[in-house]
């Protein structure tokens, strides 16, 4: 029962410490999460990857509905003229848009954009639907594909087409819209931590980094194992920018026509990239149990011995009826091959069951997160495994948090900031608030302002030395 035979799979994965980018590519392709599509910049999400997305969708959708949102579906194609109605928005998105010029055998009178995001077309519909304060708030979410043209492909991280959800809400007042913006950021944070086991830092984005057309963007940032940051979700307070551009108005209680205040918020299949890079190791994926397609893999040892496969099947049924997602690998491959395969694919728990285990009424249980193996009685396996799954989920968050917190450093100078990000850290530093200093940080260190910290704990701007307005988390980012 050695883990060391037949490690051919693992040897094919690039070294995580010296070549993180290649490690990532190796892992996503070899575990069959994803493949490259025929058109540059596109990906195919394969069943194992899509099953993670389904689990993410289920967990998020439950939370959206619990906070009063309903799903709807808006058209993929947006008249190009819609984009020009909000000046910042068109500037931000026009360069990335894919355009339909011909359809049904004819050239179109007006070219149509494939949605890069749906504020404009949803705004157009809301202007029709919204009449009175009684219609407010409008709380709608959409699960959809979107397109932002890319020439390179980084599966889940940067592709022309990706899957996401986009919430779009309308409110009577600034306060309510801001409350919604922060509430959904909170939903994302709770989801990231409790479902993906990824600790996140939330905060306001700088003007430079905000969403094109927003008054304010709030983001959550997650640290990957190489110390870089990944923007894992954003929530935008749009003020009246889009309601004025699209005439989203209502008759208020006081008999006055007013523009609504709107928000939008989204997360995407990037989250799959985030969980891979937040938890993976040299053996491959480590998937948090809540979103793992397979939570427990059962591997028969000496499968030809009488009773082994039957016992494995019985255990599978017991665990499944306790609501656990189980795979029994009864293929012809050797146990060692299977160990490697399922470790690479990141299954949280492996149970090995052979004749000796059965005699002793026990099972060998391997935890993917710590790679520790223990023996437990077969009796009460449902409770044991359920408890272990919950422990793994918590431990993964906790160890990611420890890993991250060790790698947040402070800087008072640009040199310290550069040293910090070179060392794979998030760097906290003061910032005067001006665009020139923000640009200077990027030019000198390749780090960007990820989010403003909740408190301004630094006296001076890391660039110009003037008084700090915000303490900012700087990092290199995906």
């Amino acid at each position: 029962m050695s883990n060391n035979d037949n490690r051919n799979f693992v040897e094919q994965i690039a070294d995580i410490n010296t070549n993180f980018a290649q490690w990532y590519t190796d892992v996503v392709v070899k575990t069959q999460l994803v493949d490259y599509g025929p058109v540059k910049g596109t990906m195919v999400i394969r069943p194992y990857g899509y099953a993670i997305w389904e689990n993410i969708q289920r967990e998020l959708d439950k939370r959206f509905k619990a906070t009063g949102h309903q799903n709807a579906y808006f058209p993929l194609l947006i008249p190009m003229s819609f984009f020009t109605k909000e000046a910042e928005h068109v500037e931000g998105f026009a360069p990335e848009v894919a355009v339909v010029t011909h359809a049904g055998g004819e050239e179109l009178a007006e070219p149509l954009a494939i949605r890069p995001t749906s504020e404009t077309i949803i705004g157009n519909m809301y202007s029709k639907w919204l009449q009175s304060y009684r219609d407010l708030p409008i709380l709608i979410n959409q699960w959809a594909n979107v397109m932002r043209w890319e020439k390179t492909t980084r599966p889940f991280l940067r592709t022309s087409e990706f899957l996401w959800q986009e919430g779009h809400t309308c409110h009577a007042t600034e306060e309510e819209a801001m409350e919604e913006t922060m509430k959904m950021l909170g939903v994302y944070k709770e989801f990231a931590e409790n479902c993906l086991a990824i600790p996140v830092i939330c905060g306001r984005k700088t003007e430079k980094e905000k969403f094109a057309g927003a008054v304010a963007t709030f983001g959550m940032e997650a640290m990957m194992k190489d110390g870089k940051s990944l923007q894992a979700g954003t929530s935008h307070y749009l003020g009246q920018n889009f309601s004025k551009a699209f005439e989203i108005k209502f008759l208020d209680k006081d008999g006055v026509q007013k523009y609504a205040y709107t928000t939008s918020w989204g997360v995407s299949t990037r989250l799959i990239g985030a969980l891979i890079m937040a938890h993976g190791d040299q053996r491959g994926l480590v998937i948090p149990p809540v979103v793992a397609p397979v939570q427990v893999v059962i591997i028969p040892i000496a499968a030809k011995k009488a009773g082994v496969v039957e016992a494995c099947n019985l255990l599978k049924e017991r665990l499944e009826s306790a609501g656990i997602r189980v795979k029994l690998d009864d293929s012809d491959n050797s146990p060692g091959w299977k160990f490697n395969e399922w470790e690479m694919r990141g299954v949280p728990v492996r149970i090995e069951l052979g004749p000796r285990d059965l005699e002793g009424g026990k099972m060998a249980v391997f935890r993917r997160d710590t790679c520790a193996k223990d023996f437990y009685p077969l009796e009460g396996a449902e409770q044991t495994v359920q408890a272990l799954i919950e422990t793994i989920q918590k431990d993964m968050l906790e160890s990611a948090r420890v890993r991250r917190d060790e790698r947040i450093v402070d800087a008072d100078t640009l040199e310290e900031l550069l040293k910090g990000v070179d060392g794979g850290n998030f760097v906290k530093a003061g910032w005067c608030g001006c665009r020139e200093c923000e640009d200077e940080v990027k030019a000198k260190t390749a780090a960007t302002a990820r989010v403003c910290d909740s408190q301004n704990t630094h006296a001076k701007c890391v660039v110009c030395g003037k008084p700090s307005k915000h303490t900012v988390i700087f990092a290199r980012a995906y």
Copy 2:
């Protein structure tokens, strides 16, 4: 407690008997299932409509997984050159395709089609993934949007973009592929009958009506209230047409390279149109409980009287904890207004609860399908309502079946066939099997061959009088 006050809503719906097309449009728009998008041919699926689609998805997805399928996601954009690889396929789909010619600010080297269906791009990926007989069968489904250009808009029935699922499978032998084709047709039929309460007639499509690129298409046809037929789902046996066009090959057990046999099958948001037109009446929608967004609406009577709203809330909680989807309408509108509103929106069960009911420990229960009202004890309401919901589901199927079976007639001549479809019937008639006679039926009666019946019960072709090869169900169709 009259049903007849305040019927302003219902009066706005066109007469179902004399103007079915307008009735349909009125119902889908006024019940907020759907709205028209800004681009011709597009629709917005509003929350009430999308909730039906979510219920359809949940029920179908469960069935797909129970039959061994996994979900995945393939790119939206397909290189135009892919279409030309299967001759019939390109001929069928090229005229409907929307084409992206520019993206990221540049003209593309090769124009890209927005998928009208995904056989080609999925075939391209399968050719990479399939190596050995051990990889078979490949059983994958995709939930996605597709685009087939339309200049007119009939919400849910005919729009440029619609939502659907498309299953795509690969098999080692013709037998297995044909078995899959028929199995999924069976899944659709069981779903249509048990979830949508729509009886369907399944059978093989004629050459003229089959999917472009298939060896054989099997469809299920449903009768709408105007006697027209709606194709509610199709399952295609593709033989080796796509495997040869896309080099989907495997090394078989015998060491020989072979082309796989493939299938595809799909249903779409058309199903929402089907359930509206199969069950709706002059008051509006009648939604079968299994897919109804709201299964029970509770309406307080004399809501200001002490204890009424509290009792309604308590009942709501009791029903919800029994797994029933409940809406309590405690808005300021009058009970009569609410009755009409929720009848129009097709909620299967309405419970009215007022001071007198509470005194007597009872509730008034209205069934939307029969429009009958009865009183039941409040005690045991969970069981009563659950049982009623199940009864309604079964009764709706049964009454749709009776309605349909009364409207299937036989014809021996073209005149009889015309008279039959003019009278809003499905017409069974013999057919010699030649394209000319099929075209002649369409030219003279505007009816098309929907499916071939399972048995050939007619002696002669309804057109030419030669021996009948197939008894065909002819109907006018959506």
